[in-house]
Symmetry: C2
Subunit: 730 residues, 2 copies
């Protein structure tokens, strides 16, 4: 019976893969009346017309990325896909002929091709130096083929399928198992490529190879690829396995949003094709709907401007304006539950896909269904089963806390356990450095990862968390990092005035445990929400703990005295310390040390519990950076020496603002007069915050049993505190 | 006959000063139909209603600025002026009563007041610690008095005039001649205050005192004020003298745009009053219309966003959104020639004055007369007669060059002769540092000038010009600086593809002359306009020349090899050098040294003619800055040692862009393959620029006779060049 269904569904008329025959009818009926679609169509038409005018070029493969033949073949795949759409939508044979002519040139070329002459890849392609790019090509070109399928004669189709598409699909799969037969974002492209051409060609064997991997193939489990990753340690392969592994049940992608954006397209476009051609697979329901959930997760991993949080190796500025997110948003709207919030993002993107899903979005916008995409606090578990930590995002008014207690994040992960970044209305208050790379800027190491990515960006000291004894988490070893992860202690956002996330990690350093509890509190005695940060360190041995705050902007005031060296020297010699200059040195205050700064015309204050033995350093990135690969960004670094168990408690306030136009400074001072630890035991940590108007706030977190239902009773300084749940605040 | 006229004009009905009786009629007739006026009115009404609700407070004077009594009296003057307007426009006695009640409290208080208890000022006020603020008060309150004049009984007016306004005007003038009787922006406030209350009270004696100074008073010409300026060296005084001195015939204000914005209000508001009450004075035609010209000059001294160029002690971010510029724009529109470009600025300001001029602007906008305010290249002479240098601004597409060859600029001037800054679409490419001050941010030295303003911001090395032998221009001495100035050599913008400004200065260093010629060139072989900078130094002695470029952003590439020290040390010990860290050291290349950088997703390249003996340093501001008062900004510094006559020739290109969303780097490389000096004589300097496509451009500047009509003929390397005018380019 499955076979019959499949027969049925795959025998429908073309186009059927992404654009559908019914979709074409609907689109043609609406053309001219769907502004965002019409505009997107016009832009594509102008682009393709220029290419048609310029003429076809299908050069003999020769170059690495950046070189001419690489760029040309890459451009061709995009133009083919777009020309196919234009043929269907505009019903103008000019586009079909263009696609046919170029495909025939590829057919003529491909059958003559040996392996690509460049030898750097572990899996060489034929059109490109690596199978990954050959796969990219086929994912796009299979869409073009689908669009002109009926325009071609059976003979032409036979020629293309026999000499081009089938051998092409075979080369990137059965001929390149080290590329194809694994769980890896490269393989996802390979699976999608094979599967999509299989769907168009109605080739069940290719479709099954795409979904489940190469049949009966077992690879050597000990072999590694260029990056040092295992080629296929556990034998898993195929598109479905590739969905299983990297996505948590909440849709968090294990490498973080920047790489999720990169990996997104083949997941979604192949899923769309499967949905259209093989609806019986219910691909969008697979793993409880994880593909659509992942889009929602990704959108929530962006700041108020739509910029993705630069977790792991993420380049700042990548945002939901990226084309892959147009695909994601449109697919999510059309194949999901038509969330009107997605329409507002589509409107910001000002672009839709030229297919059924783009039409749905365009109609939704046209019919005024749009609502703001309301980003709320969200906890995203990490790991295939959601049991390897996660990312907790707390949002209140303009403030966003991004708390990273995720697992290692594959080869793009950082040694940043329990780190965080803090945003206000899309601007960084406390930054995550991101990566040390200028993607595609050739002058900077060819646009590739710079060595400072390893020596600085991945290191623990580059992050807003604790570094012990000047050594990175897991000793900076991927092997150890990928076998460990923090665990969620609790995530509580029921009360939107007091939102808390808490996580613990055991093995970042042998014998040391860390429990970090971060709260965003909106209290009536404060102008804006503020951050309360409690880091509880338990260790069997005496250590040095370094705790940086990577702020931006101008130092305004400290309540401690510091000395500025006339000569700047590096703070250390390794693990990232070699990249920090010391710009100021202080002995901390007995009770609280306070630091205020000004950035982007807003005032910020940090108040932290210290004692006389603590040191405070002003640092700046840039030492041992002979090629100016790093940004010269500052930090305030709290250093506690020779301590076993210890507690770091810090508040960060955003307050007031400065106008350079009226030259008025409003509310430029901290609202907090003191932060005090009332109690710190294995079971509880209690903090008292006193405002400058002498209002007192108590926050108590349960360090062990934080279940919602649990009742707590506690006496501190003769006062009784009783509550249910993870924390107390009043 | 003059007397009769004056009688006539001053006997008109109230209000007559700023708001006029006819204006009130016109405004009332249009209310509800003039959106920007209605909106401005609503905002003022809300503000005043809150104050009326809160009740009147007229405290006994006690504090310096920042303290309560200072802030309260300052707030009162604004509220009084606004309440007066509301009474007239809304015809609601509530506002008149409020003004009357508060004025009566001032009357009761003022007659009891001794000098203000704080003694820091050279001219103490009574309500405030300095006469300047008393004058501010009277400038505003005279407007309020005019608005409620007819609401008051004759007895009430007599009481106010006798006990409050007349003694108030006397205190800031005849009782404080050291404040009043001079040419100084403080005195302008004093003159306006005395004159405006005189106009309302119809007191010819006060009006004359305002216009011409205190009759028959001669001050000791050798006495100095708190800032070390002469109290009155040449005996000039009064409002007209205060217009004469600081404004050049082009309307450039000698301290620069930041202080012009500050000084603007009393000039314009008193002028408006004089225009209304004493039209026979033709105040807006005074000195060939310099007041209105000065507004045009000021608007042209802003970048594409409306931010004023931070010349001299100017704080960045001050812009034409400042309230004083609402006054300036509205007055300029109404009393000038109704320039439709001003309407577009008023629209951006989103606010108009609640008077006749604001009505005119609101009607202009409503009637669709608005056009873009098209900033063009402009040369603004400096000095009372326009003979003390100037500021030349070259604009082409998004590029703006601000070339400063002005005179010292009084006490707020910098030692920055022939310096420049470069902007692209409102963003700084090569910055002028601005000042070292955080105005009104109390945590930073009380919001006052920081000592780094003198040790850094004013120094020559802080500017994009040549420093000789690590010493600032004029030896950093105000006395010398204010007796010298550069001179315009030529300013040529007839050909908008090749715009050039050239100026020379003789006495910055004894025996050294500098001639700088800067061109913005838009050539068909270049993507965007680029800067060509030719600095010709002639000296009797061998010197070290330092030439910094204060760029922003990330180093991308150099064509020279440099070494980065592991330890950062200051570049020098004085004259600003103590504030620069050395981050890199290079020996320059034999022909050209090239430096590329990335800022705000745009690419920039600098190409400069060097030889093997030149050094290139990477510097960063921040050494010897123990309170983090300075921004940590970078520069590239070209150093030439042991040279007498020399030539610096540099091109700066903006090219291409980077998108972090698509990760594409467009046109990221310089278009220039070489810059060469073909000829450099006393008479001519000829430069050859070759593009990467081997196109050759020749620029020749006439170093002595640059008159437009002059014909030049020249043979270089056997090739003949003939042209008329200041320069040749092909
Ligand atoms: Ca990071
Ligand atoms: Ca952002
Ligand atoms: Ca600007
Ligand atoms: Mg990181
Ligand atoms: Mg932003
Ligand atoms: Mg300056
Ligand atoms: Mg700007």
């Amino acid at each position: 019976e499955t076979n019959t269904k499949s027969e049925l569904s795959t025998s429908q008329e073309h186009p059927k893969l992404i654009l559908t025959a019914q979709g074409v009818k609907d689109i043609r009926a609406q053309l001219g009346n769907i502004p965002i679609f019409d505009k997107s169509l016009q832009a594509v038409k102008e682009e393709v017309d220029v290419e048609i005018e310029a003429g076809i070029d299908v050069p003999v493969p020769k170059d690495y990325s950046g070189g001419y033949t690489h760029s040309r073949h890459k451009k061709n795949w995009f133009v083919l896909q777009k020309a196919g759409l234009l043929y269907q939508i505009l019903d103008d044979e000019k586009y079909a002929k263009y696609v046919k002519d170029m495909l025939m040139q590829y057919e003529a070329l491909y059958k003559t091709l040996p392996l690509h002459p460049k030898t750097r890849s572990y899996a060489r392609g034929k059109l490109f130096w690596q199978c990954l790019n050959d796969s990219n090509w086929l994912v796009y070109v299979s869409q073009a083929y689908d669009c002109v399928y009926n325009y071609l004669t059976e003979e032409e189709r036979h020629k293309l399928e026999t000499n081009l598409f089938k051998p092409f699909a075979d080369h990137i799969s059965v001929d390149s198992p080290q590329f194809y037969q694994r769980v890896h974002n490269h393989s996802t492209w390979g699976n999608a490529a094979v599967g999509m051409i299989g769907l168009v060609m109605d080739d069940e064997e290719l479709i099954n190879r795409a979904l489940y991997g190469i049949k009966d193939l077992k690879l050597d489990a000990t072999k590694k690829d260029d990056d040092g990753g295992y080629l296929n340690k556990d034998g898993k392969a195929g598109f479905l396995a590739n969905i299983e592994e990297p996505f948590s049940p909440d849709g968090y992608y294990n490498e973080g949003p920047y790489y999720q954006r990169y990996a997104m397209y083949p997941f979604l476009i192949f899923a769309e094709g499967l949905h259209n051609v093989k609806p019986e697979l219910n691909i969008f329901d697979y793993k409880e709907g994880v593909l659509l959930k992942s889009i929602n997760a990704l959108l929530n991993l962006s700041d108020a401007d739509g910029d993705f949080f630069p977790l792991n190796d993420g380049q700042k500025g990548m945002s939901y304006y990226n084309g892959a997110l147009v695909t994601a948003v449109d697919i999510s709207y059309h194949f999901g539950d038509q969330d009107p919030g997605l329409l507002s993002i589509a409107k910001q993107q000002d672009k839709v896909l030229l297919d059924d899903s783009g039409l749905a979005v365009a109609l939704g916008i046209k019919n005024g269904k749009e609502k703001p995409f309301d980003k709320k606090s969200i906890n995203l578990s990490d790991g295939p089963e959601g049991k390897q930590g996660g990312v907790g995002i707390l949002r209140n008014q303009d403030l966003e806390l991004v708390f990273k207690y995720a697992s290692q994040g594959s080869s793009h992960g950082h040694y940043d356990k329990l780190s965080y970044s803090l945003y206000e209305n899309g601007e960084e208050i406390i930054q995550d450095y991101g990566l040390a790379r200028f993607v595609n800027i050739e002058q900077k190491g060819g646009g590739n990862y710079l060595k400072e990515n390893k020596t600085w960006a991945k290191q623990t000291i580059a992050h807003n968390t604790v570094t012990q004894n000047e050594t990175s988490h897991y000793n900076g070893k991927y092997e150890i990092g990928s076998q460990n992860h923090p665990d969620l202690h609790y995530f509580s956002t029921d009360n939107d005035k007091v939102q808390v996330v808490s996580s613990e990690v055991k093995n970042t350093y042998p014998g040391t445990e860390m429990l970090r509890t971060m709260a965003i509190i909106k209290d009536e005695d404060f102008e804006k929400p503020f951050l309360l940060d409690i880091m509880k360190v338990t260790s069997a041995s005496a250590n040095q703990y370094d705790f940086p705050y990577y702020y931006f902007g101008q130092v305004l005031q400290t309540n401690f005295e510091y000395k500025s060296p006339e000569i700047l020297k590096p703070l250390g010699t390794k693990n990232g310390y070699q990249h920090l200059y010391v710009e100021g040195v202080a002995k901390a205050n007995k009770d609280n040390s306070k630091f205020s700064w000004l950035n982007n015309n807003k005032f910020y204050s940090l108040t932290t519990v210290t004692d006389n033995n603590d040191e405070i350093l002003f640092t700046r990135i840039g030492a041992n950076d002979p090629e100016f690969n790093l940004r010269r960004d500052p930090s305030l670094l709290l250093r506690r020496k020779n301590s076993k168990n210890t507690l770091f408690v810090t508040t960060i306030e955003s307050h007031g603002n400065y106008s350079p136009v009226t030259e008025s400074a409003l509310n430029s001072k901290s609202n907090i007069s003191s932060v005090k630890v009332l109690l710190d035991t294995k079971l509880y940590t209690a903090i008292e915050i006193t405002t400058i108007n002498d209002k007192t706030k108590i926050f108590i977190t349960a360090n062990t049993n934080a279940l919602k239902e649990v009742k707590h009773a506690l006496t501190i300084n003769g006062k009784n505190y009783e509550w249910s749940g993870s924390y107390y605040f009043k």
